[in-house]
Symmetry: C2
Subunit: 274 residues, 2 copies
DNA sequence: AGCTAGGGTTCAAATAATGAACCAATAAGC
DNA sequence: GCTTATTGGTTCATTATTTGAACCCTAGCT
């Protein structure tokens, strides 16, 4: 395991904690040695990624991510541009909407707009979602070319609920359906009782830059409603694309090849999702 | 140099770039070997901290910081709570206002509210500010106890302009002035022609959690105006403190000792700013 | 006063990072 | 259309960093 991976793992562990942990908590939760944990925390603190409360000696996320997030959003706005569209989707569907971006081999939720219902799906901003088990993840996968999909098929597909697609065939079937409809659905595939539909947000070259998903409780949302939500999500995704990149959308690069064809052609590879 | 430090350095380098760099650009800018640079970028990409454009092969900041920033702001709101106060300060002073948080041995600008003047000070969100040369930095330093100040005095004080305080005595003098007035000023100490005044935002225990600063062009802002701005900034800082932590503010821990006294007493130290 | 738990530290052993030289593909020049 | 320069990406013996069991220190408890 690379040192950076360990540091990132520690950061993720800290992000997942419900309450501010002490050194021992962090070591336990991350499964690393106390000395290692501390060295890393100190180093991360030097750069503002974590902070230690001077009095309680507990650790928390620092301000550096806030700073980097500002820079990222300024150069490459996504969360901020997408927010009003997410609100619009909440207005038309009545259910909670979340927007995610690819981050390594998962999707990072970067924006959430809550439903007004008292009984609603609650999504933590910042949650990391698996690709094969969520509507968002499926929508993302459905835009990838065969070469890029291999990495996902190569890893074991965790079953989060009975409805999770765990076989390669099942997964392929769902992706094909998604490509046909323009959106993907998950009927409790990640958490039982949570129905969701999602569409990918593509860039000018046809690559998925993120996803937008509607999620509601099974009690209120049935298959028919889910299909309706999916269509709305796909529609909003198109609007978001226009807002982000104007109206032109080719799906091909300047050589007239589609993007994943280029990726397959060359031997030296760009960083792949693994 | 630790591996984490190198990775963070790379992230900062990427954040400072005005345009999306290629691998060679990154290696040159960071002063690291090409192989090392690439290994780190790949590893950082795995966790979504950087992204590589699949077509141009150039690198950019990823979405992971956006995700972590959401979590941080949810648990420990600062940028979001402070924003309306910053706007208020722009309204009363007419000049650009920025809010920063300590991040390692510098301050990270986490929020900026621009002046309405055409000729105004422009501050990039996400900029890292040195402690000894900016009004914000001085305001921050002026809240520290002698033990914590040592680290700053130990490092050489870079002269950014002729007005930068570069001697320990000069710096001490400015900090004393700051403690007396409740705000610090910088007359072009970081960038010539930029006048600024800043006040620290303290937590319930009297530790600086951030700073709020007003900055205007020397053409329009003289010493007298700066003092006025400083007083306003200090006033707003008190309002921010009330919004963040209610009305009680002791400046002492539960043993009745001030925080830095505690820090001095113990031999094993909390993570210090160095 | 003694005990316990958690934060923090040490140093020989184990592991990961390094970078000069390399290949491959694209872009620039002729 | 061919040659060269540039840039992205990779390799592997060498080198430097990271590791963790055992340790110390302080605060809080009985």
């Amino acid at each position: 395991m690379s040192t950076i991976a360990k540091a990132m793992h520690l950061l993720n562990t800290l992000a997942d904690m419900r309450t501010e942990p002490g050194l021992t908590d962090m070591a336990t939760a991350s499964g690393m040695d106390k000395a290692t944990t501390r060295r890393m925390l100190v180093e991360l603190a030097r750069f503002g990624f974590v902070e230690q409360d001077a009095f309680t000696r507990r650790y928390r996320l620092g301000s550096a991510p806030v700073r980097l997030a500002r820079i990222r959003e300024q150069r490459y706005p996504f969360a901020s541009i997408v927010a009003p569209f997410a609100r619009e989707l909440v207005a038309t569907t009545g259910e909670t909407v979340h927007v995610s971006e690819p981050a390594g081999d998962r999707l990072a939720t970067v924006h959430v707009e809550m439903s007004d219902y008292t009984h609603r799906v609650i999504i933590d901003p910042g949650q990391l979602l698996p690709l094969h088990a969520t509507a968002s993840g499926l929508a993302y996968l459905s835009t990838l070319g065969p070469a890029e999909l291999e990495a996902t098929f190569a890893t074991p597909l965790t079953a989060f609920t009975a409805a999770t697609a765990t076989s390669t065939d099942q997964l392929r079937e769902r992706l094909n359906e998604g490509r046909r409809l323009g959106y993907c659905i998950s009927e409790g595939g990640y958490e039982a009782g949570v129905m969701s539909a999602a569409a990918a947000i593509l860039d000018a070259k046809g690559r998925a830059r993120g996803t937008i998903a509607v999620a509601g409780p099974a009690m209120r949302v049935d298959r028919a409603k889910l299909e309706e939500f999916g269509a709305h999500a796909a529609e909003i995704a198109r609007s978001i694309e226009r807002a982000l990149w104007g109206t032109q959308k080719t799906g091909q690069d300047r050589h007239g090849r589609t993007e994943w064809m280029t990726a397959e052609r060359s031997k030296t590879r760009a960083i792949s999702q693994s």
